[in-house]
Symmetry: C2
Subunit: 347 residues, 2 copies
Amino acid sequence: MSKPMRVQVEEYILDLQDRIVSALEKLDPNSPPFKRDSWVRPQGGKGTSCVFAVPEASHSDTTAPTSVLEKAGVNISIVHGTLPPAAIKQMRVEHSSIPYDPDATAALPFFASGISLVIHPRNPHASTVHANYRYFEITESEDKEKDPGRVLAWWFGGGCDLTPSYLYAEDAVHFHKTIKEACDPFGTAMYPAFKKWCDEYFFIPHRQESRGIGGIFFDDLCDQPHARLAADAVRPKDPEQIFAFIQSAGNAFIPSYIPILEQRINMPFTPQQRRWQLIRRGRYVEFNLVYDRGTKFGLATPGARIESILMSLPETARWEYMSEVGTEEGSEEEKLVKVLKTPVQWV
Amino acid sequence: MSKPMRVQVEEYILDLQDRIVSALEKLDPNSPPFKRDSWVRPQGGKGTSCVFAVPEASHSDTTAPTSVLEKAGVNISIVHGTLPPAAIKQMRVEHSSIPYDPDATAALPFFASGISLVIHPRNPHASTVHANYRYFEITESEDKEKDPGRVLAWWFGGGCDLTPSYLYAEDAVHFHKTIKEACDPFGTAMYPAFKKWCDEYFFIPHRQESRGIGGIFFDDLCDQPHARLAADAVRPKDPEQIFAFIQSAGNAFIPSYIPILEQRINMPFTPQQRRWQLIRRGRYVEFNLVYDRGTKFGLATPGARIESILMSLPETARWEYMSEVGTEEGSEEEKLVKVLKTPVQWV
């Protein structure tokens, strides 16, 4: 008998975290290593945050920054607890695989594990990237000492998306192509469906623009029919197949991102380009604090680990009133804005 | 017969905006003047944003900043439109003076005018300040050409609060004392009630700390009983009395803030103090984007003027993972944090 899925996922994300952090450290051997920060959740669970930060480099207005990365976090968490009936009811709206019991009054145990990363490089020509892969389980209440309870519902979610300040079409194509190639063996309908979902999710309504140039985003992937995938579409359906898909997408992160980072981190840049990057980071903050479901859920959860949740925010961000940057026709800044207003099919 | 209240309020906020902007410009005669930016709302209304920004000063990591202010906006808006029945129903929860008609299916005209300001000085020893005074009316539908319809409900709201990065007790006392003296002639119960409300409102639950060191905050001030004021409390009740109170509070802004600004803007500061100021501004951004009702309402309103709504955000903000700044016992940073965790009675 194979190991329980929760154990397989835990082993995988631990290994993936290690590989990603190593790849980033290798890129910038002169910088301090990531800080490994393990924590325990009093309500149940644990995690390890691997964080890169160079606070000395930019709080001073006079010190020239030197590191490749400016802020980065590659975090894993493995938590469990109980969901009150109201939360289960709410969750059922989007996760139809949760068994429906209209008379349910008891809380149900849940288990969630995942890897979540955000990398903000310093060079304005190098894109910010975000990725997140997670596994969720709801189990039967454990009246007895047997552990854990039978799995009532489970699903995977996740995705990966790129947020440049300056648009390099070849970077966007490489990123999307690598992700698509990781998806295609599991069904060619997957990438287009999840690419579209990504464009819809990472959208800032009050700006009427996307946060970045997309990637993939998905949730609720399990053995049930999926609202975003046609009933007859080839797709992974059983736990092992879906987990194989998750691993394929997760493993694609390094080859999708590191090469474009290597390409851009040594490009010269001007104060004007740095300014535009900080304005784009302001938009990143706006999306994450106002719309991102994970962030909102985290901030509203008593006892949540705020430092992990707000890890995704950039080291610095900038807001200008009626900024002229990005509006000049034909400028490199305007080239990006155009694509954010109208998502592109990169592959 | 005196002028309609909406006209009186408009005249007052126009004059107050002019006085405040002049006082700020006088403070810093070497900086460029505020940019006056008048706009028209297609759905009805107009406004003038007076904005200070020195974008050249800080996007470069090497240019030393020189201006006293870093970002500031002193805005007025005078808008009108119609409220759908759902919005009226929602509004009634907090504004009991709105006539209750369970069968209401028609939209009602509204009118709103106010002044709103946020000033972010550059020196970490100088506090950020926010103030806002506003008047709201709901009127009868105008079937005929008579204009405007009879006022069905009206109220005033507003307040003023201080957000230092470094705590100077004498500044906090001066600020609160000046505001209290503006409130007291209208009833000594007003300042304590609205000071408490301010502490409750400008609170960041996920940080378990206040945004700043308070001031006053109030809403729904009209001729009806008020949830925050005892039935037998001396308080302004009719429109003219309440408007006189608003003017007293509004006029107190300059003497409450400008002297403490003058006191701090020439103090020397270190990169470490600048860093702490930017971290505090990150918290300011968190409060405004995640919790502030006005900001949330604005961002969710189609056609709202995003540039005016996000005017309140600082020029730059900073996020550090598990920052050690503010945690060292006995440090000036920790002194502020302590007060943010436990609001103080300054007068």
